[in-house]
Amino acid sequence: MIFGVDVASMLLGGVAAGMVLFIVSVGLSVTMGLMGFVNLAHGGFAMLGGYAIALAMKHWGLGFVPALVFGFVVTAAASVLLERLLYARLYRATELDQVLFTIGLVFMMIASVTLLIGPENQPLALPAILQGQINLGITQYRTYSVVLIVVGIVIVSGLWLGFERTQIGAQIRAAVDNRRMAESLGINIARLFTITFAFGSGMAALGGGLGAEFLGLDPQYALKYLVYFLIVVAVGGLGRVTGVFYAALLIGVLDFVLKKYVPQGGTAFIYALTILLLLWRPQGLFSAKVT
């Protein structure tokens, strides 16, 4: 029984952490798969979105859910602007140029937020109903973790349906699998990319807001969790919603379990594991695309 409770609390904690990783990373995976564009500023959009959400709640007294919607919309809109003005110029550039450009953008985002809002952490107060503990029958657990898991499942189901069952989903899948063929069939890749980019950034914003309870929210957010997002994408494979989902859960749970039982190891395990996984399957664990 005690063992069961231990396992349950571990799974709940790990899966909740994984859900946050998934929500933030899914956009990165799809845009990278679609355009081969290495967007290191993705964490920056998560940070900006988190700020929009936290500040809207703090200054305008917006509720948590309306604030999340607000953050999604604002960040998606801002990303379209940046995509059209800046990103679009670098689609044919080398990967090194893209990396340099996006990392530069991250630094500018960090500096602007520090300058305009300040270096300190932005507290994001959850509604009272999401705080505290919930009784799950076999164990008490943090309400918010349980809520996150439910939200994550809803989001992944929605995305899966969108990818597999809609016209635009089919277009994205086609473009990820074979871009030139998709283009010659008349799919407007540039427009498709703008849409996915905006959507992915909006999702990142959602992740920034939903995950603030665990990850905090400060200007450095844009960089300090980037490695985790990239690991999830690398392990999950590019352009695969379900792949990213499984990878995020895997990384979330493993990270949680290892930290709980071998805290001396710090984050070293997760990096070592990533290296091993990628040596074994460089295209990602869950990717169908063999390159």
Partner: protein, 400 residues
């Protein structure tokens, strides 16, 4: 006659130039003005500036110029470069700053080679002051609070068992050693020690706290750097229902840093800390200090222990400048500071002539709700506490 006039003129000229030289004292400040420590840098910086502003008459006739360098992170390497540049390019007379212990540890050989007085305004690892003969500390050692709290936990809180969670960098290990030494020396038992990630980024504390909760200790002693780490600790403690499970969260005052306390809200109520300063301390110097701070930096801002580290550090520097009449030799400066006493917002402080570390009161406080805000109520006080690590010459402070 002519000769005499020339002689007088030359003497006068010599006097004015030496006068002009004595006018300005350059203080090289190293702080993490950008990056994860930026808000700490702002607190220490404001503490220094506020002292200079409020005590302009005590500084005259000298002029103190602060030359500020950004050390960016707790890694050590950037701080070392900054300190070296302050010494070799800016030719500063006095060094000051150091938020993070690794930075003070990395800078120690440069400070020793540079032969300038170096005032540590925050970094708390105990043995830092042993690493260079020119280090003087106006902040605290981890042992001040950690050691005092170990004893208080066993005696006043009647704790038999404790789990220690700490951020895995020098002051964290120091804090663990200090607490363990006195807690076990007073009959308690530390049943688990959990390193909880590094200082560079705030981890998700859930797995570590879950582990602590499973061990069911009487108290959970936590040292994390103040700021975002602390805010996350209090949040996780509340969210995992550890209070309801009968586990008291205790630690040095980093977990109830004034700048974060109100945002923690009800989750902070019941936290018990041992520390040398918080903004609710009831003494006339602190009342004046807090009032001046709010007037200068805004009613919603508050000073904290880091701000006081900067404030008192600047008081020490002004004392040196006055005592040495603006000509700062390192040996004379150290001499001036040994045994120096000051009425600080944290209560009376002095510099230990032997260790060059601070001697000050420690306050045991409990966070309570009062008039709709979280208030730190002092429930115990120990006068004139010295760094136990160096005093008892134990662990890392033992002579080699």
């Amino acid at each position: 006659m002519m000769k005499r006039i020339v002689a007088v003129a030359v003497a006068a000229l010599a006097m004015t130039t030496s006068w002009a030289q004595a006018q300005e004292v350059k203080v090289g400040v190293n702080l993490p003005y950008t990056g994860i420590g930026a808000e700490f840098a702002q607190l220490v910086d404001r503490g220094m500036e506020l002292y200079l502003k409020l005590n302009a008459d005590k500084v005259r006739p000298y002029k103190i110029t602060l030359i500020k360098r950004d050390v960016k992170d707790p890694g050590g390497a950037n701080a070392k470069i900054a300190v070296q540049e302050l010494l070799t390019q800016d030719n500063v007379d006095i060094l000051a700053g150091w938020i993070y212990s690794p930075n003070a540890i990395a800078s120690a050989p440069i400070v020793t080679a540079g032969k300038k007085l170096a005032v540590i305004m925050n970094a708390g690892t105990a043995q830092i002051t042993n690493m260079s003969p020119y280090y003087v500390r106006t902040s605290f050692s981890m042992w001040h609070a950690g050691y005092a709290l170990g004893e208080a936990a066993a005696k006043l809180l009647n704790a038999k068992t404790a789990v220690v969670g700490y951020t895995d960098f020098p002051p964290g290990k120091d804090s663990l050693a200090a607490f363990k030494k006195s807690f076990e020396g007073t009959g308690g038992k530390v049943i688990d020690e959990i390193p909880m990630g590094g200082a560079g980024a705030v981890p998700d504390f859930t797995p570590f706290f879950q582990r602590a909760k499973d061990k069911k200790p009487d108290v959970f002693f936590v040292f994390v750097p103040a700021g975002d780490h602390a805010a996350a600790v209090v949040k996780t403690y509340a969210a995992l229902g550890m209070r309801e499970a009968g586990i008291k969260l205790i630690g040095p005052g980093d977990i109830t840093q004034d700048t974060k306390l109100q945002a923690m809200g009800a989750a902070a109520v019941g936290l018990i800390t041992m520390h040398h300063y918080h903004a609710d301390l009831d003494n006339p110097e602190n009342k004046r200090f807090v009032e001046a701070w709010k007037k200068e930096y805004g009613a919603t801002t508050t000073p904290d222990f880091m701000a006081v580290g900067g404030y008192d550090g600047m008081a020490a520097i002004v004392h040196v400048v006055q005592t040495l009449k603006g000509k700062i030799g390192v040996e004379q400066a150290l001499e001036a500071l040994k045994g120096w006493k000051f009425a600080s917002p944290r209560g009376p402080i002095s510099i230990d002539p032997v260790t060059r570390d601070i001697v000050m009161n420690e306050y045991l406080s409990e966070a309570v709700m009062k008039d709709g805000r979280v208030f730190q109520k002092v429930i115990g006080k120990i006068d004139a506490v010295k760094d136990a690590c160096k005093e008892q010459k134990i662990g890392p402070c033992a002579p080699k």
